[in-house]
Point group: C2
Chain length 429, copies 2
């Protein structure tokens, strides 16, 4: 795609040479990880196309939206309510954070011992490689972890676009009240920035669009409960990653088409992996696109990932936004909905342990792999309680701590293979 | 001291052999770092004695207090209001966290990439080496960083004593309201646990005691503004560390005696270091006893530490608790007071940058050393803005990231010596 978009990328201030290199690396990785999969659903064609145009056609669309007066809002977290952005004629997009890019530049601003995701978003910006951050009018951060909370201060110095929402540390009544107020404050901010009004009709339409997207993602999740699984974990992860970037209405329609195909596959017993393949639930830190490392290792080791108890995954779509009859009630319901997302940033966070159990049971997982980015303290510490809880339920548990580099890929593959073999042995005995 | 207390330590469940080893190492370290200093104020004799009895006589006192029905409350953070504990006939004590102890045990529960202070409090408990945690009836944690917030969940599983206060992430009106409510909730908790009432008289007496302690620490800080400095940074740091352990009334009286002596020294121009020694402000993470590493390196390199912009330091005593006329007003004032402490857990935290400038100016610091424990994300990220702010004011800045081990001591000494030499050159030119 690259030749058609040079002018656009130049106008966004990207580093054209480095960007060409990035696209080439990503294209190769996609070829070897995704396109090499056998027997994929035909409906994945759309998502392959989206990936191939993720820095191209999608940016053309965003710039058209921007020219038409729409606000382009970059986000990093599922606590930021997409409905509110849509209701003000905004476009909500995730920002680049899933690859080791601009690391040396990023480390001039933030410590070496920062998680790959935070280094990623700093690095993508500093290296001039993220057309999303350049297109965005506003970037909404949140206080979910020390690293993001403090890095946003610097990211704002660099971009002049950052607005931070305060997420509380506890799911107490007071914490919920504080968060509800933050949603109201965001509504005011968006009204100010856009000069538009929030109306009940607009909110209802936005809720319809986002709930429909969530329902389609729920269908995808449900389909993965079958044995054989009709779709790979890699493909399902990709769709979840794309859900943060694509136009929500088109995405939903294409995903529902794919889910129709998956339903047929399930009816015919067609799987992406053989019936009886070892079924793994992945739980932990978010996997931003193109972070496909762990899924790729698991599925090339004979396992199949049947679910992601993660923000790029189940936490993003499990709960719908409830109906409302006033604008303020809508804001309250948004706050209520997001406080049901069990991020490790909360203390205590026992509900996440229950989520892992419920997903394992619903999706017939035979083992849980706890995934945390290196230096992602909330998930790394919570791993201890997750382990005890998963093992007490009689399920095998493996703890993976890694970053985006491929240096440890061989070692991880050995550990994952041993884990899958161990589950196979348990099944046989 | 060790022979007299064997029975007490055994009754607290300490690991006697390991504890004997720890005391021996600490005694040697104290000898070489503290008692080798020349020309110390005579008043340091009391604090030397306190250190020598920190696991002995002070624990005897605590156990007597406990037997007399007083609540022993362990804390880790200056946001926990000592006045409230005292007003309910409680005793407030800091818990052991300043040395590499029980690290292997701690790493079974929390990640390797956790700061030394958190590993320290977990390790001290797990290795059976902290008589304070064993004496405590209640341990009050707070949500100041991801590591502590999440580790307290596990620490509570181990000790069954942990109560967590929610500190907000922002100094907004809503954040302040949440924190005020947390102070009220703590008051209720202490009333429940002790079965006592909070009265205005008790609160006033507690405020008088703690404010007097803060005033004495302010006197100590003021004395350090003189050139030559009448007391070493090492000794001043030690006194600040002891302020979290000692009986507050006795501590205040002894510190005021020392300050009288310091006033005389200042009047006579008597210094611990020569007039004109390079004056350094240290700013950053807390230094729990016996973490004397950085001060020791600075002062053995010809510098003198004139202040600590840190929680074990200025943040602990700069502001007094204002007068109040009702119990609830007292709780509100406690909340207001502590929200003036500019911990890097807040975003934004520009007030800390102002504190660094004000302290540098008041104490005639000629350079700022930013100190952060490895993996202490809030301070490590904030270091970037601190650097820009300090350098913009024309002051030299050095960023130190370290842990409790002495492995990097040589390398740190080389960097600190170069920093001090550079300041000397600037002064000469």
């Amino acid at each position: 795609m690259s030749e058609n978009y040079q002018e656009m990328w130049a106008s966004l201030g990207l580093n054209l040479e480095a960007h060409r290199g990035l696209l080439s690396v990503l294209s190769d990785a996609y070829q070897s990880i995704y396109l090499s999969q056998k027997n994929r659903p035909a409906g994945m064609g759309y998502f392959d196309f989206v990936v191939s145009e993720v820095h191209g056609l999608r940016i053309v669309e965003l710039l058209k939206d921007k020219a038409a007066g729409k606000l382009i809002v970059g986000t990093f977290c599922v606590y930021v309510p997409e409905e509110l952005i849509l209701a003000l004629d905004g476009v909500s997009i995730g920002l680049c954070a899933g690859a080791d890019v601009g690391t040396e530049e990023a480390e001039k601003f933030i410590p070496r011992n920062t998680c790959a995701l935070i280094k990623g978003f700093m690095g993508f910006k500093l290296a001039g490689l993220c057309p999303y951050v350049e297109s965005a009018d506003l970037i909404i951060g949140e206080t979910t972890c020390d690293g993001k909370k403090k890095a946003y201060e610097i990211f704002d110095e660099i971009t002049k676009k950052v607005y931070v929402m305060e997420l509380p540390n506890k799911k107490s009544d007071e914490g919920r009240a504080l968060w509800t107020n933050e949603i109201r404050r965001l509504a005011q901010k968006l009204i100010e920035v856009t000069g538009r009004e929030i109306t009940l009709d607009k909110l209802r339409e936005a809720a319809r669009v986002v709930n429909a997207k969530r329902r389609a993602l729920q269908r995808l999740s449900d389909a993965r409960a079958s044995d054989p699984a009709p779709i790979s974990g890699l493909d399902a992860l990709l769709i979840n990653q794309i859900s943060f970037y694509d136009d929500p209405v088109r995405f939903t329609s294409k995903l529902n088409e794919l889910c129709d195909e998956l339903d047929e596959r399930v009816a015919h017993g067609t799987g992406i992996a053989p019936k009886g393949a070892v079924r793994v639930l992945v739980s932990g830190s978010p996997m931003a696109i193109p972070n496909w490392k762990l899924h790729s290792i698991i599925e090339s080791s004979g396992g199949i990932v049947v679910g992601e108890e993660a923000c790029v995954g189940e936490r993003n779509f499990r709960d719908l936004l409830d109906a409302f009859s006033t604008v303020d009630e809508a804001l309250q319901k948004m706050a209520d909905r997001s406080m049901g997302i069990n991020c490790a940033c909360f203390t205590p966070n026992d509900e996440r342990l229950a989520d892992i159990h419920n997903m394992s049971s619903k999706l017939h997982a035979q083992g849980v792999i706890h995934y945390a980015l290196q230096f992602c303290t909330p998930y790394l510490v919570e791993a201890y309680r997750a382990k005890n809880s998963v093992e007490a339920a009689g399920l095998p548990y493996l703890r993976i701590e890694t970053d985006y580099s491929l240096e440890d890929a061989g070692q991880l593959k050995t550990r994952v293979e041993a884990f899958i073999e161990m589950i196979r042995d348990v099944k046989r005995s």
